[in-house]
Structures are given as C-alpha cells and as structure tokens.
C-alpha cells in the first residue's frame, strides 16, 4: 500500500544532506513553517535556500537564516532591515536575486524537464550583465536555467495517502511548482483526507510529485 505519511517531524526531515538545495514555498500564507523549523533543527549545513523573499526579522525564514545553516539565498526580494539583508551586508550570506516570474518559471522548468529558456524579463537590466542574451522576434531575451531542488518544503491544506494535495486560496503560490522541482518533496498538511476525498479534477498538486507528508494540524 502506498502511504506517504510520516509520523514525526524528524522522520519528515531525515536524510537532508549538507550542501543541499532546498526549495521553500510560501508567499505569506502557504509557508511550510513547521518544516522550515524542522530544517533548522535537522542540522544540515551549507544549504542553498530558494524562496520568494528573504523575510523580515521574525518568522520561518529568519529563524532558518539565524541558525547559520544557509550559505546562499535565491529569491526575488530582500529587505535591508532583515536577517537576510544584514547577513548579506556582512558577507556571511550569498544572494542571487531573480525576478519573481523568472524564479517561478525556472522552478517550473526544473519540474518539467526544460533545460533552459529565453525570457525578455531582466534582459535589458544589470541582472543580465555578463550573461547570454539573444534577440528573438525583435525582443532581447535572457537565457535562464532551471532551479532543481534536492528538497522541497511544501504546505498543503489537504493530503491523501498518495500525496495528492489541495492548497487553500492564495496559499497555493509556489507550492505546486516547487513540489515538481525537487527530488525529495516533503509536505506539511493541515488536513489528512481519505483517498478519493479530493475529486481527481481538483487535485492541485498530484501525488506523483510528493515523497513524504507530515500532518501538522492548524
């Protein structure tokens, strides 16, 4: 019987290696806060963290950064007045800033087997300096590569034992695409449902993309 549920946070986080690239979903709601806490506790070092924004001084990203286990942050937005901003200024955190849509598309590309793509976004900005560009259909485009995750940390509203997920309202955000893009996709779900409770046509993230699910009631 397929059963992707794991009993404990430690079991959910087991085996994450030093140097791993970790995709963490969330845009306000939809942030897998328990799993991010678990990552801070799990002890893997030298991590690359991929998420939309570097956060503020509190919350799951800040907690994770404070443990000092993050070597590099790939995101679209960092505030000067935040843990990430100060670590970057102090030279203890590498930073790769990616336009938010390009970030989403690079993550999806990793999940979909696209090995590189050309986009106009950022092509005529300082973000393109020293990088490969090409004019396609009269538009200057920038070559972008997929962001593959070793691990994805995902938030869900419902999960069945196959790992079929729903996400509530705008808590969906990066969750379905990050789930696609990692070798090991770990989910925290607010609700556990019976197989079949989620209608097939309304599954938001299919279980094929999910390896482990932890029940974290809200």
């Amino acid at each position: 019987m397929i059963d992707k549920f794991v009993p404990t946070l430690a079991a959910a986080m087991a085996g994450i290696q030093d140097g791993a690239t970790v995709l963490a979903a969330g845009f306000g709601p939809g942030t897998p806060a328990t799993l991010m806490q678990g990552l801070a506790e799990q002890g893997a070092r030298d991590l690359t963290l991929v998420m939309n924004a570097g956060g503020r001084d509190d919350g799951p990203v800040a907690d994770l950064l404070r443990t000092g286990h993050i070597r590099k942050l790939i995101c679209s937005f960092v505030r000067a007045d935040s843990v990430a901003g100060r670590q970057f200024a102090a030279g203890t955190l590498e930073l790769e800033i990616v336009p938010q849509g390009t970030l989403a598309e690079r993550i999806r590309a990793a999940g979909a087997g696209v090995q590189a793509f050309f986009t106009p976004t950022g092509a005529d900005t300082i973000l393109a300096e020293g990088r490969e560009t090409r004019v396609i259909n009269d538009r200057l485009c920038l070559l972008e590569y997929p962001i593959f995750g070793d691990v994805a940390l995902i938030d869900a509203w419902q999960s069945d034992r196959f790992g079929n997920l729903t996400h509530r309202d705008s808590a969906r955000n990066f969750n379905p695409i990050m789930a696609m893009a990692a070798k090991q996709t770990i989910v925290q779900t607010a609700h556990v449902v019976e197989l079949g409770a989620i209608p097939p046509e309304n599954v938001h993230t299919a279980g094929v993309f999910v390896q482990r699910v932890l029940h974290v009631p809200v």
């Binding site: 845009f27 937005f77 901003g85 336009p99 938010q100 849509g101 092509a123 300082i126 705008s170 990066f174």
Partner: protein, 217 residues
C-alpha cells in the same frame, strides 16, 4: 518652486485619476503602493484585478472581522475575492503577466524617462538591498504599463520625470503613461506629451518641475 495656486494630488487622488481611465472589462495588475489603491475607485465597472501570487479577481479590502488568513495580494495584505474569481499557482500567475494577458499594469517608480525606461527597484547598482519582486516581469509582459508616482522627490524636489533614468532600470522603453500628483503624461516616440494637469497647474510651473521636455497639445 513656483508659488502658483495648485494643490498636488495626494496618493488617493493619483489612484482615483488612474481609475478614471480604466474601462470596463480590462484585466489589470496593480503594484504595491499608490497602484494598490486604484481598485478602490472602480467600483462602478467590472475590472478584474490580478495579483502575482495567483489571485485573479481581487475584491474589496475585508473588515478586520472578515479576514481570511489564506488570502493575500502581492503586498501580502489581506484581501477578498470577487464573485467569479480564480486562483492559480505562481508559474501560471506569471504566465498571465509575462504572456501578454494583462491589459494594464500600474506600477510605482523612482524615475521614468522620456523613452519609456522605467526605474523602480534600486537606487544604485550596488545597493545592498535587492527588491526586484515581480516588477521586471510585469514591466515587459503587460500590454500597457502605466506608472503612478509623485512628480518630484521629497526634500530636494528633483524631477522623477527624466530625460534619462539615473537609477538601474527595471526595463527599457516600457512605460506608456505616467500619472503624477501634478499631471498625466503620455510617452510618445517624441517624448512626454501632456494629457492632463491638475487644476491651477500652469505650463510654466509644470515645465519648471519636470526635467524632461514636455510636448503640449
């Protein structure tokens, strides 16, 4: 600065002025800041508002007692949905922006140049903070890009309406129209054309307050 009798629009005033130009049926993304306020002024028309985090059909700001913690806009402020809304994931949401499906995007800016260049994400190439967000995607992807900003900087009063942008660009040649607290300017192949001014504003004063050349009707 001129002493002529005019009262610059406040932030709500700029938003209201923009709202007046949005026809029913448009599909619109509003940036953080002044742009976010635009939706408050189009209640008489069906205009569909999009947010980068996957919301299609943003409704009115909810009362404190009716907040849905799972529902925010691109500024992570609590929102409601209109009847007929749809929710998608981040890549699909940016497919809307980047794929040319937005009739309009309204963004804030530090500077706009007469060739349509937009600078709205950094004040220096080596600024330690990096706040790109979704602006570059929206700027290149929307069918029309309008900017909402104050005409001049606070303090020194420098013109944000420029011959050439001095800050790092968000995208080149993308701005179609600029709504400031003083005027509405259209970006044309020949530079900024004045479409409208606030009551009491004069040609001389607007030119004094604007670094770029202005084309008068």
């Amino acid at each position: 600065m001129s002493g002529s009798a005019f009262k610059p629009l406040d932030r709500d005033g700029i938003a209201e002025r923009i709202a007046r130009d949005i026809p029913e049926g448009w599909f619109v993304n509003l940036g953080i800041g002044i742009p976010t306020k635009v939706s408050d002024f189009v209640n008489d028309r069906e205009v569909i508002f999009h947010a980068e985090n996957g919301v299609i059909g943003i409704g009115p700001t909810p009362d404190a007692g009716n907040i849905n913690p799972y529902l925010v806009n691109a500024g992570v402020q609590h929102i409601s949905l209109i009847v007929g809304a749809a929710l998608v994931h981040h890549a699909d949401s940016f497919a809307i922006a980047r794929g040319g499906h937005l009739d309009l995007c309204v963004l804030g800016a530090f500077e706009v140049a007469e060739n349509g260049d937009l600078a709205n994400w950094a004040r220096s190439p080596d600024e330690p903070v990096k706040q790109v967000g979704g602006a570059m995607d929206l700027a290149v992807g929307a069918k029309r890009l309008w900017v909402a900003m104050e005409h001049n900087t606070k303090g020194r009063g420098d013109s944000r309406v420029r011959k050439i942008c001095s800050y790092p660009l968000t995208a080149k040649g993308v701005v179609k129209r600029v709504y400031t607290d003083l005027a509405v300017l259209e970006v044309t192949p020949h530079g900024f054309a004045v479409l409208d001014m606030i009551p009491g504003m004069t040609k001389a004063t607007l030119e004094e307050r604007t670094e770029a050349a202005l084309i008068w009707p």
